[in-house]
């Protein structure tokens, strides 16, 4: 590390340390990401310090995870793996009409402000036509495809949701590149309820795809937000793109 240019080390050394601890705000973090992408010395310093950060979890008292946790987790995983099996027929469900579902949205419990704002954004967008459905259709395999619509300022993004019973696959393109420590996350909105679904990152060509393992039967929309790595239990940003489930 001693051969690093002094000026670069002075300017970025402390920022990189805070960055490795995920302790910078979004703007400062973005500046470090951009700098490290173009500076081999600072990229090396980040990797060097990251080794220290990666060992911090090892310093806590080590516990034995409860056996019941493993049982619950594997029961869910095995059930979802079984549901994905191509031999399993799609479940037939009785769904309320779109009007009933949108009306039901306002009969539920009061949302926390961030979630309420998200729901309002979707309703407003629908009122002014941002939720216009584009190309859609039914495939020979019984799946149903609906187009996704982007929200400003991400109007260059496109997407489609392929619905297969209670599950689906969302395909997107044109979303902005993710910064370090970020992922995109899908959400399933049903009435006032917004449930977290899968997280994903973009491929090298800027496209992304994510499976929605459950919850589409009776759902109103699938939407995508940007979240910290690993995802969140509630949206921390407004949606970049959304598809109406119908």
């Amino acid at each position: 590390m001693t051969d690093q240019p002094r000026s670069c080390d002075e300017r970025w050394g402390e920022e990189i340390a805070a960055y490795s601890l995920d302790a910078l705000d979004e703007a400062a973090s973005a500046r470090v990401t951009d700098h490290v992408a173009g500076c081999n010395a600072c990229a090396a310093r980040l990797r060097w310090l990251q080794a220290a950060v990666d060992l911090l979890p090892a310093s806590v008292p080590q516990l034995e995870a409860p056996p019941a946790l493993r049982e619950r987790l594997m029961a869910t995983v095995e059930a979802e793996a079984e549901a994905r099996s191509p031999s399993r027929p799609a479940a037939a469900t009785s769904r309320p009409s779109l009007g009933e579902r949108i009306g039901a949205r306002f009969r539920g419990p009061v949302l926390r402000p961030a979630l309420a704002g998200l729901a309002v954004a979707l309703i407003v967008a629908g009122a002014v036509g941002y939720e216009l459905r584009g190309d859609s259709g039914t495939g020979a395999d019984g799946t149903h495809t609906v187009a996704a619509t982007a929200f400003k300022p991400y109007s260059g993004a496109t997407g489609s949701l392929v619905i297969d019973g209670d599950r689906g696959d969302l395909h997107v393109a044109g979303l902005p590149a993710l910064k370090r420590g970020q992922v995109y996350q899908a959400w399933v909105a049903t009435g006032n309820d917004i449930e977290p679904s899968s997280v994903f990152v973009l491929a090298g060509d800027g496209t992304g795809e994510v499976s929605i393992p459950k919850g589409l039967s009776g759902a109103d929309q699938v939407m995508v937000t940007r979240e910290p790595e690993g995802g969140s239990t509630a949206p921390s940003t407004g949606p970049l793109i959304a598809a109406t489930v119908d």
Partner: protein, 205 residues
């Protein structure tokens, strides 16, 4: 379990983490099970350290592993080990849970039999013994840091606080906070290079 299942289980257990992740990406539940068995203990331990509550720690750990199972946010080798990646997801979930719950972390009861430190060595598996030894040695190394440096690092990593929040909490300039983060991490890094046994570091990762 059938002989064929025994064979495939043994084969999976021989795979490196990166190879397991390829199978997890293809939604292989058996590969996922092996992944959890390797990293579930450290994940739960980290979750508990952050949220300070066993039920919340179980929820955090479950959510983190389910997000790994369901997502296509695949592991990138350039960003470190699979364990580091898994634990970064656990940390993010844990910080999220902490902020939603608002609870302070209570002290850990070291007489609790689920704490590896409190169990006789003869009762531990090889992996558990290595985890305990690494944990004790690292805590010793971190204990040698000046208190002001370890404090800012702990607040940032385990508390999820930003450098500006830490500066406000500790009533110190922003530059001082970042400077102590840098010095503390450099000392820890030097310990890895010179003090900690390579076997422990590699065994943990």
């Amino acid at each position: 379990m059938s002989p064929e299942s025994d064979q495939s289980a043994v084969a999976l257990e021989r795979l490196a983490d990166e190879e397991l992740m390829v199978l997890v990406d293809r939604k292989d539940p058996h590969a996922f099970e092996v992944l959890y068995d390797r990293h579930g203990g450290p994940a739960y331990s980290l979750a508990y350290r952050i949220v300070g509550d066993r039920v919340a720690a179980e929820d955090v750990t479950q959510e983190a592993f389910l997000s790994i199972w369901r997502s296509r946010a695949r592991f990138d080798r350039a960003r470190g080990s699979v364990r580091s990646w898994v634990l970064s997801i656990v940390r993010n979930r844990g910080i999220d849970s902490l902020r939603r719950g608002g609870a302070n972390a209570p002290a850990l009861d070291l007489d609790d039999e689920t704490v590896l430190e409190s169990r006789p060595s003869s009762e531990l598996t090889e992996d558990e013994a290595l985890r305990r030894e690494t944990s004790e040695e690292l805590r010793g190394a971190l204990g040698q840091l000046p208190e002001d440096q370890s404090r800012v690092i702990h607040l940032a990593y385990f508390g999820g606080f930003s450098h500006s929040e830490i500066a406000e909490m500790l009533n110190m300039p922003l530059g001082t906070v970042k400077g102590r983060m840098r010095l503390g991490l450099e000392k820890i890094r030097a310990q890895i290079a010179e003090g900690l046994s390579p076997e422990m570091v590699e065994g943990w990762s």
